[in-house]
Amino acid sequence: MTGPSSKVSGSQTSGAYATMSLVSFRDVSIDFGQRSILRHFSLDVEVGETLVLLGRSGSGKTTALKTVNAMLFPTTGMVLVEGRATTAWDHIQLRRRIGYVIHDSGLFPHYTVAQNVAVVPRLKQWPAADIEARVANLLQKVGMPVEEFGARYPDELSYGQRQRVGVARALAADPPLLLFDEPFGSLDPVTRLELQRQFIELRQELRKTSIFVTHDVREALFLGTRIAVLLKGSIEFVGPRREFLQASTPEARAFLSCLEPLEYDTEQSLA
């Protein structure tokens, strides 16, 4: 009885110390009833990189993301954050160390822009003056100066402005890790490009580690330092941007083919 169990815990400890990845998915599988959403998903996220999870709807990318901040737990396998399994973390403390941006911002409608950005620092009981300074600084960074936007409510903002506030809120308590779940998915292409450029600027300035979920191959190539292609809950391909462009796996090729110009009959369209 003691033999095998000590062996298991021994291998887990050595594994945790062997790699100091910020996030480490270890053979993660998730089943919802009969449906398996993730299958033997293994991946390490290193400090400072932007890892993009690229996949179609239903490929399991959002599910994978939600295991990192303990919104979901693996059926089998484990997710390590800073070397510790999410099941072993205090979930509240873990989530306060991870910024989270979702596609429809999830801003609190009854809080002003400034109050929304202040949520996590306030939960962490920062001094009021520090919170105020931090909010002003971050809103400035995302192009929403506090003098102009701080007192507004989310329903008084455009969709793109709400997403900017969502990014500021995620950054508020200076978390080492950020999770993005298709944050720019519903934006018009011009605004999307603005926010993507801003993402890169902020990344250069703040040097955060990010996991970014998208189904947009252009976005993946623009923002990702490394790209993982998901297919039916498994990783089909993972590698740096340059390798992804040369990838030969079918799903990666399918995504890359989206970059080719559409074929249409020029003669006919001119006629």
């Binding site: 403390q93 989530r95 989270y100 911002s105 999830g106 949520v119």
Partner: protein, 206 residues
């Protein structure tokens, strides 16, 4: 035109009526709102509880007052029996609106509250209850307006209130007495409706 003694009695009965409704609403709210919060977490209990208060609601009010008279301790003749019956009636709209108000909070908002690292309590007090407040208050308003009407029947079991005039007017076929009970009750209902509607709107402005 209206005799002085009648006017005097009107004031007393109106006060009694106000007391019956006020106490019932306070009791009902202090049961229904916390219970509604608990039920919003427990889908299993929710259907059972809402079904029970639904059934209570279908019992005709005069019959419910009658049923309570023989019940020991809680029942009998007088205002406390009436208050118990009025509380039972007020539970449904308050409970229903509390549960609906909390469950209708946008999933994205609730999820992001969790993902930001709020505890269940922080999420409840800072996000779910403030956003559900207008709906909860609408339940209180519906319950109050209905109870002001139902409370007139409480006079049948000796609880006093404006129903005393109505029952006396019915017995003596005196329409002045009937109106002396009905009109103040109606005015009280309208005032409660307007007042609570104003509070509701103030709350939804955040």
């Amino acid at each position: 035109m209206i005799p002085n003694s009648l006017l005097h009695e009107l004031v007393t009965l109106t006060m009694q009526h106000f007391f019956l409704v006020g106490v019932s609403m306070l009791l009902a709210a202090s049961v229904a709102i916390p219970l509604g919060i608990i039920l919003s977490w427990r889908s299993g209990w929710r259907d059972v509880a809402l079904e029970v208060v639904n059934v209570v609601q279908t019992v005709p009010s005069l019959a419910l007052f009658g049923f309570l008279i023989p019940v020991p301790v809680l029942g009998g003749i007088g205002s406390h029996t009436a208050i118990i019956a009025l509380v039972l009636y007020a539970l449904l709209p308050m409970l229903h609106n509390t549960v609906t108000g909390i469950l209708n909070v946008d999933v994205a908002v609730r999820d992001s509250a969790t993902a930001l690292g709020m505890t269940t309590g922080e999420r409840m007090w800072q996000v779910e209850l403030p956003l559900a407040a207008p709906t909860i208050l609408a339940g209180v308003r519906i319950a109050t307006v209905t109870t002001i009407g139902t409370a007139t029947i409480a006079a049948a079991i000796g609880a006093g209130g404006l129903g005393v005039f109505i029952f006396r007017g019915l017995a003596t076929v005196d329409s002045v007495l009937l109106l002396a009970g009905a009109i103040p009750a109606a005015l009280m209902a309208i005032a409660a409706d307007r007042g609570l509607e104003w509070v509701e709107r103030a709350l939804s402005r955040y």
